[in-house]
């Protein structure tokens, strides 16, 4: 009967390339980081089954509308009927802007309609109704 020879290979994880991996991760996070600028209002978004990603990360403006119909753009409270001028100004600064409308699910549609009409008036036509993912039941 043969006696098995013990393998004498050392069991170490090569750590020479660790620095490369760390650098790679570092560069990835450096490039992908976008710092959060605005806080917004407290809203509970409606849940939907489908949700599309907003195609851009940097050219996006958030408009918050809570259930009492306070509207906040860039952490400044804006009168509902003054939204169009703010939107127009923002589009002058960056024409590729997409507006993410974060509207509370309990807001009445009459108010939502006012906001949409203001968006149209200010030429902010590319909008995204922010939602949260519905849990599968």
């Amino acid at each position: 009967m043969k006696i098995r020879k013990k393998s004498s290979a050392k069991e170490t994880i090569p750590s020479g390339s660790m620095a490369d991996i760390v650098f790679l991760l570092l560069i990835f996070f450096m490039v992908s980081t976008v710092f959060k600028k605005y806080q917004g209002l407290k809203v509970r978004l409606p849940a939907t089954e489908i949700s599309e990603k907003v195609p851009t990360k940097r050219n996006i403006a958030h408009i918050y509308a809570d259930r009492a119909f306070n509207i906040s753009i860039d952490d400044k409270l804006v009168d509902p009927y003054a939204v169009h001028s703010v939107v127009r100004q923002k589009l002058v600064d960056n024409p590729r802007l997409i507006f993410s409308l974060k509207i509370d699910e309990k807001l009445q549609y009459g108010n939502v309609n006012i906001l949409i009409e203001e968006m149209r008036k200010g030429n902010g036509l590319r909008v995204n109704f922010a939602t949260r993912r519905k849990r599968k039941s």
Binding site: M18, A19, V22, F23, L25, L26, F29, M30, S32, T33, V34, F35, K36, L45, P46, T48, E49, I50, S51, E52, K53, V54, K57, I60, H62, S100, L101, I103, D104, E105, K106, L107, Q108, Y109, G110, V112, N113, I116, E117, M119, R120, K121, N123, G124, L125, R126, V127, N128, F129, A130, T131, R132, R133
Partner: protein, 134 residues
């Protein structure tokens, strides 16, 4: 008397032993501060103001939502869950169909989005948001 200055012949190296620490520190900083693209929702392009197109009546499908979450599609009442089937059926019959969503003034935004969600699920991309009727 001139004294000869002796050149100091030290090695001009930047110590690289702590580089890994620095890189780790930066890595952890960016790991913590990163916010990934979380903005999700239903994308829509609104029509420019003042634009009213005449659309043949057979290409329009009116979807009305009331305050209690009931839906009326061309005079046919149904619940929100039934919207998907109905719109899907109508789209296969007429691919040029434009779905016009109207909600009453006191409808919750949630119901409106639920209906929009159902319509988007059918793959329909011709959605119009109409002004509510007073």
């Amino acid at each position: 008397m001139l004294s000869k200055r002796r050149r100091i012949r030290g090695d001009a190296d930047i110590p690289s032993g702590s580089m890994a620490d620095v890189v780790f520190l930066l890595l952890i900083f960016f790991l913590v501060t990163t916010t990934m693209n979380k903005d999700k929702g239903l994308g829509l392009v609104l029509p420019p103001p003042g634009e009213a197109k005449e659309i043949p009546k057979k290409n329009i499908c009116n979807v009305l939502v009331n305050a209690s979450g009931n839906v009326l599609i061309d005079d046919q009442a149904m619940s929100i869950r039934g919207v998907y089937k109905e719109i899907k059926k109508r789209i296969t019959e007429n691919p040029n169909l434009i779905v016009s969503v109207k909600a009453s003034e006191d409808t919750e935004y949630n119901y409106f989005i639920q209906v929009l969600d159902q319509i988007k699920k059918t793959g329909c991309d011709k959605i119009s948001i109409a002004n509510y009727e007073k």
